[in-house]
């Protein structure tokens, strides 16, 4: 299979029931690819945000693609609560694994390092911990006086999905300082990328671009997609489309309005 593909072929590479990790709203969210996933009709995803989600999560949940959700929060930011997420929680339509930001970063780092778990401070006495039977508390084996500490099992996503301003013909992807994307890609079995632009020049050949480049060994497929974050923004390239985000919130207040929005925006053919 070629490394370079179309948006819809990229979406075909996400099997039902995959554990998919998506970046937070401030960091290169591949919304166009998420809409393509909805078009493809993906089902029963275990969806992980690294560590918080916004419209990408609300869209996948509203479209019935998600079985289990793990995140530190799902929020539309200043605009308000995520309507399809709230509804799904209240109606028990998805299983929610509530987490906290650094716990998700840490679990991905554990996968990145190929270790079964990593410790994290905090959490003791929180209901987040109380509701996570997959987490463990041990006494610090190095210092009995340092108290209990939480161990988090590694999370290895099947697929990381990211958007990038730039990729090259070798499959290297420029992510700049958005290094949560690097951790996601290292932790996941493979990474599917949409990029605003694919250039001929090798990103690793220049010290300046190499510093912000995810090397191709982590990349499974790339599709060139302009405005791939829309209606979210891409730092340094375009701002969020706040009118469209407001419109989304208005329509997605009901499931039928949500579906109208999907149709109008090409996520249902």
């Amino acid at each position: 299979m070629s490394l370079f593909t179309s948006l819809d072929d990229l979406a075909q590479q996400v099997p039902d029931q995959s554990l998919v990790v998506l970046p937070p709203d401030y960091s290169n969210v591949p919304v166009a690819a998420v809409l393509a996933l909805i078009r493809r009709g993906v089902k029963d995803l275990h969806l992980l945000f690294a560590p918080i989600g916004g419209i990408a999560g609300d869209l996948l949940i509203g479209a019935g693609c998600v079985k289990t959700l793990e995140a530190a929060a799902i929020t539309m930011g200043e605009a308000g609560l995520a309507p399809r997420f709230s509804e799904a929680i209240q109606s028990n339509a998805i299983t929610m694994k509530d987490s906290t930001c650094p716990a998700i970063h840490t679990a991905l780092q554990a996968s990145e390092k190929g270790v079964p778990f990593m410790p994290l401070r905090g959490l003791i006495g929180s209901d987040v911990l109380k509701n996570r039977s997959d987490w463990q508390v041990i006494d610090d084996p190095f210092d009995k006086d340092s108290g209990p500490i939480v161990l988090l099992p590694a999370i290895q996503p099947d697929i990381a999905m990211i958007h990038a301003p730039l990729a090259d013909r070798e499959g290297n992807v420029w992510i700049g300082k958005r290094r949560e994307l690097v951790t996601m890609a290292h932790a996941a079995k493979t990474t599917l990328v949409t990029a605003e632009k694919i250039q001929d020049k090798n990103l690793l050949e220049d010290d300046l671009t190499a510093a912000g480049t995810l090397p191709d060994m982590y990349v499974g497929a790339i599709a060139e997609v302009e405005k791939g974050c829309w209606p979210l923004g891409l730092a340094g390239h375009y701002l969020p489309d706040t009118d469209m985000l407001a419109e989304y919130l208005k329509q997605a207040a009901t499931q039928s309005g949500f579906e109208d929005w999907l149709k109008a925006n090409g996520a249902i053919r």
């Binding site: 918080i52 929020t75 650094p102 929180s126 300082k177």
Partner: protein, 246 residues
């Protein structure tokens, strides 16, 4: 000079930052962000200069190691002041950012705990900022503990709650007593109003002064120098709060 409520709250928070050295401000926090920018400007070049790290945009955001750097940096002890809010907050400073009702299928679901279950433990001074001062928010006991206000002996906890700022008052948290103590009431409000709208018990000293309003100097600086800076991260907030046509 008169000021609006947001300006008042910004300056009230600013007064809490005067001995902070490194303040971090999370996502969607324009009021705390403005307060920290204000104190940074006021202490610039001084021995007690305040360092500020804001996430949620590129402006005043020094982080270059991805989403984990704020948390790692806090775990390293480099950050002394942070802000948290809460759908509910109780008298032991437990905070709930997840929702109301019975978890998991709550009556009303809110976004989630964000980084609170970690930051509340490791940042020495966490300022709780929740403008809405009602019994819906300030409850006897939160429905879900996103992060506990206090921890038992033996739990690693260099951090925790420091103060609570609302539209009505300023309270300070006493970690030993595990109780809030009313520090001052904002102009135009009363102790009775605070009592009526607080669902938990708290200490009331004999003298409760009025929260001092901002000096003209501070207010001028906020409007002239700080508002363009905060607009880099929160343009809508600035156009709403600061009458920049003046």
């Amino acid at each position: 000079m008169t000021c609006n409520q947001d300006e008042f709250l910004i300056c009230t928070i600013a007064s809490l930052l005067e001995s902070s050295r490194h303040v971090a401000v999370g996502m969607a926090s324009p009021v705390p962000g403005s307060a920290a920018l204000l104190v940074r400007e006021e202490t610039k070049g001084q021995i007690n200069a305040l360092r500020l790290s804001m996430i949620g945009g590129d402006a005043n955001n020094p982080f270059t190691d991805g989403g984990r750097e704020l948390f790692d940096c806090s775990g390293q002890g480099r950050i002394d002041t942070f802000f948290l809010g809460g759908v509910q907050i109780d008298g032991q400073a437990n905070i709930n950012l997840v929702g109301t009702g019975q978890y998991p299928n709550m009556d009303r679901r809110f976004p989630g705990s964000f980084g609170s279950a970690y930051m509340y433990f490791v940042v020495p001074r966490v300022i709780l900022f929740r403008p809405e001062h009602t019994r819906r928010v300030f409850v006897p006991e939160v429905d879900f503990i996103s992060a506990p206000g206090t921890s038992g002996k033996g739990v690693y906890r260099p951090g925790g709650p420091y103060a609570l700022v609302t539209e009505l008052c300023l309270m300070m948290f006493d970690r030993r007593q595990k109780r809030f103590r009313l520090t001052s009431v904002h102009p135009g409000h009363s102790i009775e109003e605070v009592l009526d709208n607080t669902g938990f018990e708290f200490d009331i000293p004999e003298q409760v002064p009025e929260t001092p309003g901002p000096s003209d100097n501070r207010l001028n600086m906020l409007r002239s120098k700080i508002s363009p800076e905060i607009a880099k991260t929160y343009p809508e907030f600035v156009s709403r709060v600061f009458d920049t046509a003046d």
